[in-house]
């Protein structure tokens, strides 16, 4: 029993058919084919699936896809401008904010939400904003440095 729905992901409108219980994460990965967002815990604990709905961060594993119709969905694939990395992506590379990379899409999306809401966070504010994102490599220092370097305009 699938229902037709149009999801606006990174500025592209995708008509898809989904069962009502489908999570936004499964819709974006499996029905649309954008696999940057990851399934870690599938339980809202790890943040690897983080997306933006308009400017608000959401654990997409725990959000019903049908509720996301009519809003702008942003995934990690929507951050770069063509081949030019988003400043946060460049900073993650420069500050060694990437190890295995599994948490990176969610970290980048959470950091984007933070900087849109608060362009000049303190270190504490940055850590709180990223604390819904778990890094299994425990590489938090580089990630926080990267976010703060973008906030400082470096």
């Amino acid at each position: 029993m699938k229902v037709p729905v149009t999801l606006d992901v990174n500025g592209v409108r995708y008509p898809v058919e989904l069962a009502p219980s489908t999570s936004l994460l499964v819709a974006v990965r499996d029905a649309i084919g954008l696999t940057g967002s990851k399934e870690g815990c599938d339980d809202s604990e790890c943040g690897a699936c983080m997306m933006l709905l308009d400017d608000r961060p959401v654990n997409s594993c725990s959000y019903l896809a049908l509720q996301a119709e009519g809003v702008e969905i942003t995934t990690v694939e929507g951050l770069a401008d063509g081949d030019v990395l988003h400043p946060l992506q460049a900073a993650f590379l420069a500050e060694s904010g990437v190890q295995c990379g599994f948490c990176t899409p969610g970290m980048l999306v959470s950091a984007t939400a933070l900087l849109r809401a608060n362009p000049t966070p303190t270190e504490d504010e940055a850590r709180i904003a990223l604390s819904g994102n778990l890094c299994r490599c425990t590489g938090y220092d580089g990630i926080v440095r990267a976010v703060l370097s973008v906030a400082a305009g470096e």
Binding site: M1, D43, S62, Y63, R127, I128, S131, G132
Partner: protein, 296 residues
């Protein structure tokens, strides 16, 4: 997780009609969808999504009361100037629910109607004498939040009743409040033990007190003995009364003995912050930061 249908409601009337026909509401999904994934309760067969009902979102001041729409998010509550000033304990609570993503989508209505014994917002709401408006096809009734909870995950609301608004009388000047929880980590935490304290002062003297416990009994509830002790100036006695009134469970997060031992500690700290705020001292929201430091 099978769901036969999901209706996105555009008006509260439409949502209430769908609920009368058997549909169950979903807003941010931060409890409902996660609970289904964990096997706590399957997703309802028919869902009505209420997240678009702007008429139920927002905070308004009217006739000596603060009306908080059921769809108001924790992020909105924790940053609302009126809540921060007048209902500080509620801001303390909403500011520490889940993570920033939980607070961006999780609503106070969901927090209340899920009725977890460890819910953050329940203690402040019962201490502030909040009243819930529940609407069904047959009309709207008003129920004190203190009478809403009947057990873990259970309320007196009928399955077809939709929570519309929480109305909170503005506490009188000279009132301070605090919600504090024992936590093991800064975010994505569930209260191990929680205490709400509300104190009205006249100079140095506490003249009126409200105290409620969280994660210490099958429901969030007030502790009259503790309130009486604090109102007579005995903060230590109030904290002891909180521990005495506690009937906690043992689970993966703490043993019942540990919870009972910590109940007095958390109560004393919550009381201290509430009294300090009542006297005009600035204790930043969330109060948890004062005792467990910042994110590092």
């Amino acid at each position: 997780m099978t769901v036969a249908s999901l209706l996105v409601a555009t008006t509260a009337d439409e949502a209430v009609e769908a609920m009368a026909e058997g549909a169950r509401p979903v807003a941010g999904g931060t409890d409902l969808v996660v609970g289904a994934r964990q096997g706590k309760a399957a997703l309802p067969d028919r869902l009505v999504a209420i997240h678009r009902l702007e008429e139920l979102a927002g905070i308004a001041s009217r006739d000596g009361s603060i009306a908080i729409g059921a769809l108001t998010t924790h992020a909105a509550i924790a940053s609302d100037p009126l809540v921060l000033e007048r209902l500080t304990a509620l801001a303390d609570a909403s500011a520490i629910v889940g993570s920033h993503a939980t607070r961006a989508w999780g609503t106070i209505g969901g927090n209340v109607m899920n009725a977890s014994p460890a819910m953050e917002t329940g203690g402040p709401l019962v201490c502030f004498d909040a009243t819930a408006s529940l609407r069904s096809r047959s009309g709207t009734r008003r129920v004190p939040v203190a009478e809403l909870f009947t057990g873990p995950g259970a309320t007196i609301a009928d399955p077809d009743e939709l929570l519309l608004t929480l109305e909170v009388p503005v506490p009188r000047d000279g009132t301070g409040s605090c919600y504090l929880r024992l936590e093991y980590r800064r975010q994505m935490e569930i209260a191990v033990v929680g205490v709400t304290a509300v104190a009205a002062v006249d100079g140095e003297r506490v003249t009126d007190a409200r105290i409620a416990i969280t994660a210490l009994a099958p429901t969030v509830r007030r502790v009259p003995d503790a309130e009486a002790a604090l109102a007579s100036g005995d903060a230590e006695g109030a904290a002891a009364a909180v521990a005495a009134a506690s009937a906690p469970i043992s689970d993966v997060r703490a043993s019942d003995r540990y919870r009972r031992a910590m109940a007095a500690v958390i109560a004393r700290r919550a009381i201290d912050v509430a009294v300090a705020r009542a006297r005009g001292d600035l204790v930043p929201v969330p109060a948890n930061q004062r005792y467990w430091g910042t994110a590092r």
